[in-house]
């Protein structure tokens, strides 16, 4: 039994974060995530941030950018297709967010990671954007 209030809250925030990991390509919004976590919308963003150290919006952006990096490296899908595949609403937002998080554009990232001579699991672990 998860007993203390903070543990109950943690567990529910984890459930909402898992939902973002799983359904990143869908148009997740704060009301939907707050429902998963059984808390009011007003509480959700604040509590998530207190639990994991970043806003749910930022977490979802990082998850989507991580997926985009994977698709840029491992597929030949167009950058516009990748933008929608990982759940961004417009190429402009995708490009801006990607650059803000990784420090280069999707196009530049694709170019610099083409044909890296290391196993993909290492690429995945060491290219995960930190912030």
């Amino acid at each position: 039994m998860v007993s203390r209030a903070v543990e109950v809250t943690n567990r529910l925030m984890l459930r909402a974060r898992d939902a973002m990991d799983r359904a990143y390509a869908q148009p997740l919004d704060i009301p939907a995530l707050a429902r998963i976590a059984h808390v009011s919308e007003a509480h959700f963003t604040r509590t998530f941030r207190a639990t994991f150290g970043e806003t749910p919006h930022r977490y979802l952006q990082r998850r989507r950018v991580e997926r985009a990096m994977f698709l840029l490296r491992e597929t030949d899908h167009s950058i516009t297709d990748i933008c929608f595949e990982v759940g961004f609403g417009s190429p402009g937002t995708f490009s801006r967010t990607f650059s803000a998080i990784t420090g280069r554009s999707p196009r530049a990232y694709r170019k610099e990671t083409a044909g890296l001579p290391v196993p993909t699991c290492f690429t995945m672990a060491w290219t995960r954007p930190s912030d």
Partner: protein, 136 residues
């Protein structure tokens, strides 16, 4: 040097609830359930395979201070404790369906991977588990 991994451990917040989940839902078997007085030694294994046991340990005093135990419980419920398991199954989709109907909290549906098909779930406390149907 070594011949086997025989015991490993994950933290659970309540051992009865852990039993209900790991045995009642996942279908593992109790390998040992001994009240030692100072602790309840509770291990589970895949049915028929007691050579590899998982200790379901409850954090708390006197092994650690109540304050530390609180930190451990917070990490477990944040999914950050790091205790996790990967199990093998003969039929990933069927096992997934069975467990889904029992209300198990899945984080990932069965997905084809280079090594086979697998999916992900959480135990009631926040620990991560996967099960894999290996290729071939």
């Amino acid at each position: 040097m070594f011949t086997n991994i025989t015991q490993s451990q994950i933290y659970v917040l309540d051992q009865d609830e852990a039993l209900d989940f790991y045995v009642g839902k996942l279908g593992l078997e109790v390998a040992a359930d001994v009240q030692l007085g100072f602790m309840r030694w509770l291990t589970v294994c895949v049915p028929g395979h007691p050579e590899r046991q998982i200790l379901l340990e409850k954090p708390g005093p006197p092994a650690m201070s109540e304050e530390t135990a609180e930190q451990v419980r917070e990490l477990v419920t944040k999914g950050a404790m790091g205790g996790w398991l990967i199990l093998h199954t003969d039929d990933c989709r069927k096992t997934y369906q069975t467990l889904l109907e029992q209300g198990v909290e899945f984080t990932e549906e069965p997905t084809e991977r280079p090594y086979g098909m697998d999916c992900g779930l959480r135990d009631p406390f926040g620990n991560r588990l996967r099960f894999t149907q290996p290729k071939g």
